[in-house]
């Protein structure tokens, strides 16, 4: 089996418009959470989100090009461009024909759909815009990335709610490891700030009225986020042969289903996904030096995830820092796992573990070393990135410093 490395990374989120801005925000523990500006929140019980502030399709897309892309697909392409440029991919006709694109998204272009349905249901108009379908489909991000780079290989989108991007990255990793493809662009993108979507989240009663405080005793729920992170994955040998930058190695991927409840998490399901990732990477629990937690800051998730970590790591838990960067970039749903994988890669590469921001008070039910508020210098070799979706579909990535 081939070793798989990350040679390119790109992102756009509340923490900035590229990887260096993201890294700077994360290591300063600076949260991107603030009052939601891109949707009207006057009729909502919550007001805050982690948005890409003052986002405009320019200078990224010409007006006519942007007409075809919902905000979530624009984010996907913006992040993919940075990742491909950073990897300095040397395109050949053969590579374009075999390269894969695997993206994750939860709600896709539902913001576009929301506008169209408002036209017919509320305004009583007789028609919706003809691009409603192609802008709404969750695979639009992958499709536009393929057109952007002329990639004609296997391309598809995975939608597993909050685990989408982890399932996507894991799939891309396995496809390269097994020799199905020699290059993959993979990650996730999301843009859920539309009134109808926000009302649906309000009805779930899981969104915090102020901010996101994972693992803190006074946590009051999640904060929605948006954005994208994309990676270029390649075999280690190919990356070395052409002198490409190597940010980290992907060494394992594990999945599981809770088969329990549609929204309540199961610590056993989460634990099985972590064990599967360790097994896939041939790692012992004691080798893991950091976990980027799912850490949504809902009362249920954080307790369940803490129990799962104790179950898998036992006494090693006390020596293993665990943080949730959702405290800074919010919960970007189908993009969340990609942003968190990026945070974990940066932690390995730069030797600086990201903090859990907004942390105020220790919770005995979440007895983990959560790196409260301040990033921590630590040279670690292996990290996990946890994602546990609504619907009980779990995905965990294992990463190695290179």
């Amino acid at each position: 089996m081939r070793r798989v490395v990350i040679t390119g990374m790109g992102t756009i989120s509340a923490l900035g418009r590229d990887v260096s801005q993201f890294a700077a925000s994360v290591c300063q523990g600076r949260s991107g959470i603030g009052p939601i500006e891109s949707a009207d929140c006057s009729g909502l019980r919550f007001k805050n989100g982690a948005e890409v502030r003052a986002y405009c399709h320019q200078p990224y897309f010409e007006d006519r090009h942007a007409d075809f892309l919902d905000r979530f697909a624009q984010f996907a392409v913006i992040a993919a461009r940075e990742a491909v440029a950073g990897a300095a991919v040397e395109w050949t006709p053969e590579l374009r024909e075999s390269a894969a694109i695997i993206t994750g998204s939860c709600v896709g272009g539902q913001s576009t759909e929301d506008i169209g349905f408002h036209e017919v249901y509320k305004l009583g108009h007789n028609r919706v815009h003809p691009l409603t379908i192609p802008k709404t489909m969750a695979n639009a991000g992958a499709s536009h990335i393929s057109m952007e780079f002329g990639i004609t290989g296997p391309s598809f989108t995975i939608s597993t709610a909050c685990s989408s991007a982890a399932h996507a990255i894991g799939q891309a990793f396995w496809m390269i490891r097994s020799g199905v493809t020699d290059l993959a662009i993979t990650g996730g993108s999301e843009a859920p700030f539309s009134f109808g979507i926000l009302k649906a989240w309000e009805a779930m009663r899981v969104v915090s009225p102020d901010t996101c405080r994972p693992f803190s005793r006074d946590r009051r729920g999640m904060i929605l986020g948006e954005g994208a992170a994309m990676f270029v994955l390649e075999p280690l040998e190919a990356a070395r042969a052409r002198g490409a930058p190597v940010h980290a190695e992907v060494v394992g991927f594990g999945m599981s289903a809770d088969a329990g409840h549609i929204t309540q998490p199961s610590s056993e399901g989460a634990a099985r996904a972590m064990r599967a990732a360790l097994k896939d990477a041939c790692l012992a629990p004691e080798q893991i030096g950091y976990i980027n937690a799912h850490g949504t800051a809902t009362p249920a998730n954080d307790i369940s995830e803490t129990a799962a970590i104790h179950g898998v790591f036992g006494r090693h838990t006390a020596r293993m820092p665990v943080s949730s960067t959702k405290s800074m970039h919010g919960h970007a749903l189908g993009a969340a796992a990609a942003l968190e994988c990026l945070a974990a890669v940066l932690a390995l590469r730069d030797g600086l573990l990201p903090p859990t921001a907004n942390f105020t008070e220790y919770d005995p039910d979440c007895d983990l070393d959560v790196i409260p508020n301040c990033a921590r210098r630590a040279e670690i070799e292996y990290a996990l990135s946890n994602s546990f979706a609504f619907g009980g579909l779990n995905a965990v990535l294992a990463l190695r410093k290179i």
Binding site: R45, R205, P209, G221, H261, T263, A300
Partner: protein
Amino acid sequence: MPEELTERILRVIATSKRIPLEQVTITSEFQQLNIDSMDAVEILFALENEFDINIPDEEVREVRTVRQMVDGVAKLVAAKSAARPVNSADAAASQ
């Protein structure tokens, strides 16, 4: 507590959870009725519709029994009807 209000709440809980009305009493605890967090959120939604009220998240965090739910709804319904005469006076004045 007006009996009619309690009866309506019991009916909303039974309908939402799809259990016989006889099973739901003022002394029932959610755990006895097998009401989990998602069931509770659905019941709140149904109560908001039934009484045309908004139930804030803070009001429901510690609610674990039918009686607590009835008390909370009664308070919100009372607050709504206290506000109503003022509104209708305003409406009359503006006509």
